[in-house]
C-alpha cells in the first residue's frame, strides 16, 4: 500500500475587527445595541480602575495576594457579554470583569481577597462557579455541567476560562476530548496572556497557535485578537449560538497580555522587558474601544471623564462598604462549617474543644 495523505483542516481563522486606533472593519463589525456597548465600556473601565485600587490596597496591606486582570478586560468580558443568566460560567481566577458583569458585588471581591470565605459565596440567583485556583482543573467541571444541561434538555451553555499555561495540563486535553466525543454545549475560552508566571507562551507549546489544539479533538477552534472586544464578542457569540443549537463545543483563543504581575507576589521584571510591556500597552483594549465608541458618536471625551468619576465613586463606596462589613466578620467557628452536609461527631468534638480552649485562654488573659 502506498503512503497516502489524510486531509485535515489546514488553517485556523484569526479574527480582529477593531484597529488599534479605533477604526473598524465594516464587514466584520458585529451588530451590538448602543446601550450594550456603553455598558461593556463602563464595566471594562470599572474593572480596570478597581484592579488598580485592589493593587494599592494590597500594597497597603489592606488585602492579601490577588491576581490582577489589567489588559485582559476585553478578552473575558467580551466572551460572557452575550450569555444568558441561566448559562454557567466556570472561571479560572483572572476574569474579574466577567465576574462583575455577571453580578459579583465589588465589596465581595475585597472581602474574599482579604481572606474571608464569605466573599466567594455565589448569590442564589446566579449559577456561576467560584474561582478555581489549580490551573486548568475547572475545564472538566464545565464539561460535566454541559453534559448535565444536554441530559436535561436545556438550551443553556457552559463557558469556561483558562490561560495559555493551562493548555499544557492533562485536564485541558481531557476536557476538550470529552466535549468533542459527547458534542456538549460548552465554550472553552483561553486567555492567552503570553505568560504563565515566568514561562512565555513560546515555551509552553511548540504549536503555532493554541486554537489549533481544537483540530485534534475534532471541534472548531478560532484565534481572536483578545484586546478587541468586538472580535471576542463576535467569536464567542458564534460559539455560544452553535453550542445552544446543538452544534457542540468550540475553543476560542484570545490573544491578550497580562499587563501587570501574575499575582501581587510576583515580580515580572525578573523575566520580561519593559519594552515588551510598553508595546502591549499600545494595544490596551480600553482606549481602543473608547476611540471606536467616540467615532460612532456613542461617547465623548467629556462622557469618558464623567464615567471615570462615576466609576471612582462606585469603587470608593465599595471599599467603604467592604471595610465596614469586614469589621463584623472573622468568627473563627465558621471554619468548622460546610465540610459536610452534617457535621461528623469528631468534628463536633474538635469544635467544642476549640470553644473551650478559646474561653479558657481569654479568662487567663483577663486574669493576667
Amino acid at each position: 500500500m502506498p503512503k497516502t495523505r489524510i486531509a485535515l483542516p489546514e488553517a485556523i481563522d484569526y479574527l480582529s475587527i477593531l484597529h488599534e486606533h479605533g477604526g473598524v472593519d465594516p464587514d466584520l463589525e458585529p451588530v451590538i445595541d448602543g446601550s450594550l456597548l456603553l455598558k461593556l465600556h463602563r464595566t471594562m473601565l470599572l474593572a480596570r480602575r478597581f484592579d488598580e485600587r485592589l493593587l494599592s490596597l494590597q500594597r497597603q496591606g489592606r488585602i492579601g495576594t490577588f491576581p490582577p486582570i489589567s489588559g485582559q478586560e476585553a478578552a473575558h468580558l467580551g466572551a460572557v457579554a452575550d450569555l444568558r443568566a441561566s448559562d454557567w460560567v466556570v472561571p479560572a481566577f483572572r476574569e474579574m470583569a466577567a465576574d462583575i458583569w455577571r453580578g459579583r458585588p465589588l465589596e465581595s471581591i475585597i472581602v474574599y481577597n482579604n481572606g474571608f470565605n464569605e466573599g466567594i459565596r455565589i448569590p442564589a440567583d446566579r449559577n456561576d462557579m467560584p474561582i478555581s485556583v489549580p490551573v486548568g482543573s475547572q475545564i472538566l467541571h464545565a464539561v460535566g455541567i454541559a453534559w448535565a444541561m444536554q441530559y436535561r434538555g436545556k438550551d443553556d451553555v457552559a463557558m469556561t476560562f483558562f490561560g495559555d499555561g493551562a493548555t499544557s495540563q492533562g485536564d485541558f486535553h481531557e476536557g476538550l476530548n470529552f466535549a468533542g466525543v459527547f458534542q456538549l454545549p460548552v465554550v472553552f475560552v483561553c486567555q492567552n496572556n503570553q505568560w504563565a508566571i515566568s514561562i512565555p507562551r513560546s515555551k509552553q507549546t511548540r504549536s503555532q497557535t493554541l486554537a489549533q489544539k481544537a483540530i485534534a479533538y475534532g471541534i472548531p477552534g478560532i484565534q481572536v485578537d483578545g484586546n478587541d472586544i468586538l472580535a471576542v464578542y463576535a467569536a464567542a457569540k458564534e460559539a455560544v449560538d452553535r453550542a445552544r443549537a446543538g452544534g457542540g463545543p468550540t475553543l476560542i483563543e484570545c490573544v491578550t497580555y497580562r499587563m501587570a504581575m501574575h499575582t501581587t507576589a510576583d515580580d515580572p521584571k525578573r523575566y520580561r522587558s519593559d519594552a515588551e510591556v510598553e508595546e502591549w500597552r499600545r494595544k490596551d483594549p480600553i482606549p481602543r474601544f473608547q476611540s471606536y465608541l467616540i467615532a460612532k458618536g456613542l461617547l465623548s471625551e467629556d462622557a469618558v471623564k464623567a464615567e471615570e468619576a462615576a466609576v471612582a465613586a462606585e469603587i470608593q463606596a465599595a471599599v467603604e462598604r467592604a471595610e465596614e462589613e469586614m469589621k463584623g466578620l472573622g468568627d473563627p467557628l465558621l471554619m468548622f462549617e460546610h465540610a459536610y452536609a452534617e457535621m461528623p461527631a469528631y468534628l463536633k468534638e474538635q469544635r467544642a474543644d476549640f470553644i473551650r480552649f478559646t474561653a479558657e485562654a481569654q479568662k487567663e488573659e483577663k486574669h493576667a
Binding site: E118, M129, S137, H141, G144, A148, E174, G175, N177, H338
Partner: protein, 326 residues
C-alpha cells in the same frame, strides 16, 4: 430472599436507584456495552440506555472532573474506576474540588457524586491491581470513604452513598466480589454512612476490621473460641471516614484488649487512626498496647507472594493470643 454475590448486590443497588431517580448516571471506562470489567454494571445499558450508562474515553481525571460538574448541576453521577490503582489520576479533582466545593461556595454548591473502585489483593492480577490506599481519601476533609464487607451491606451502603449529599469514595473489596453469597432483600435497604457495626459479641478482646479482611477476622474469632475458649467482640468499620469511634471506644472499654486488622500498609494506615482514638478515649481501660495486624510497609508483592503480605487467620490469632497474654 435471593442469594447474591457482591457484584450482583451492587448491580441491584445501581439498578434500583436508577429506576427511582433519573438524576443517577453511571459513567466510566467499559461500564456500558461491556458491563464493567467485573460486571458490576452488567445489563444497565440495556435497561437505561447509553444516555444514563455512559462509556467514557479513557481518562480518569476527565471522568472525575466531569462527574463534579454533573453533580454541581444537580445530577448524581456514579463513576467507576476500573481499578483503584488508576484512581490516583483523579486525586487532584477529588481533593481540589469534589471535597471542597461545599466549603468553597459556603454551602451554595455540593457534590453528590460516588466514585466506585475495586481495591485490594486476592485476585492474581497484575501490578497496580491489588493496593489498599483508602487512607489517601480518608485524610481529605469533606470526603467520605466507605468500604463494604459483604453483598448485603455493599448493596445497602451503595444506595446510601448515591443518596448522600457529599462525595463518597466507595472501595469494593474485589477479593470477595464473588467469594460468597448472602441473602439480599429485593426491597430497598440502606445503611447509614459514618456508622460502624458490631458483627460478633464477646467480652475478652476486640477485633476491628473492614472490607475483605472481615472474613479472616471472623474466622480468627471463631478459632479463638473453639481452640482457646476466648470470646471476641468483632467490629466492622464499614465507613473509614468520617470514622465512627463510638462502638470502638465502648468495646475497648469493655475488653481492654484490641487488635485492628487491615491489608493496607501499617504506617499511617487506618489502624493508626483507630489506635489514636482509643488512646484518646479508652486509654485507662486498655490492658495491653493495641495490636495492628496489617500489610507490611512495602509495595504489595505480585500475587505469588501476596499470601505472606496479607493478614490471614494465623496472624490475627497470633496477635490476639499475645494481647490476651499481656
Amino acid at each position: 430472599m435471593p442469594k447474591m454475590t457482591m457484584v450482583q448486590a451492587l448491580n441491584l443497588a445501581l439498578r434500583q436507584e436508577m429506576e427511582k431517580d433519573d438524576s443517577v448516571i453511571v459513567l466510566g471506562e467499559d461500564v456500558g456495552v461491556d458491563g464493567g470489567v467485573f460486571r458490576v454494571t452488567d445489563g444497565l445499558i440495556d435497561a437505561f440506555g447509553e444516555r444514563r450508562v455512559v462509556d467514557t474515553p479513557l481518562a480518569e481525571s476527565g471522568i472525575a472532573g466531569m462527574s463534579i460538574g454533573m453533580a454541581v448541576y444537580g445530577l448524581k453521577p456514579v463513576c467507576e474506576m476500573q481499578f483503584d490503582g488508576f484512581s490516583y489520576y483523579t486525586m487532584h479533582q477529588i481533593e481540589a474540588h469534589a471535597s471542597r466545593l461545599r466549603w468553597r461556595s459556603q454551602g451554595r454548591y455540593h457534590v453528590p457524586m460516588v466514585l466506585r473502585a475495586p481495591f485490594g489483593g486476592g485476585v492474581r492480577a497484575l501490578e497496580h491491581h491489588s493496593e489498599s490506599r483508602e487512607v489517601f481519601w480518608a485524610h481529605i476533609p469533606g470526603l467520605k470513604m466507605v468500604i463494604p464487607s459483604g453483598p448485603r451491606n455493599a448493596r445497602a451502603l451503595l444506595v446510601s452513598a448515591i443518596r448522600d449529599p457529599d462525595p463518597v469514595i466507595f472501595y469494593e473489596p474485589k477479593a470477595i466480589y464473588r467469594a460468597f453469597r448472602e441473602e439480599v432483600p429485593e426491597a430497598e435497604e440502606t445503611y447509614p454512612i459514618g456508622r460502624s457495626q458490631r458483627v460478633r459479641e464477646g467480652r475478652d478482646l476486640t477485633l476491628i476490621s473492614y472490607g475483605a479482611m472481615m472474613r479472616p477476622t471472623l474466622e480468627a474469632a471463631e478459632e479463638l473460641k473453639q481452640k482457646h475458649g476466648v470470646e471476641a467482640d468483632v467490629i466492622d468499620l464499614l465507613t473509614i471516614s468520617p470514622l465512627d469511634d463510638s462502638l470502638l471506644v465502648e468495646s475497648a472499654r469493655k475488653t481492654g484488649r484490641v487488635a485492628v486488622v487491615h491489608e493496607a500498609p501499617r504506617s499511617f494506615g487506618p489502624g493508626a487512626e483507630v489506635v489514636a482514638r482509643l488512646v484518646e478515649k479508652a486509654f485507662f481501660h486498655l490492658e495491653a498496647p493495641v495490636a495492628r495486624v496489617t500489610g507490611y510497609d512495602v509495595v504489595i508483592p505480585l500475587f505469588n507472594r501476596e499470601k505472606y503480605y496479607l493478614p490471614g487467620v494465623p496472624r490475627i490469632v497470633d496477635a490476639a493470643r499475645k494481647l490476651l497474654a499481656a
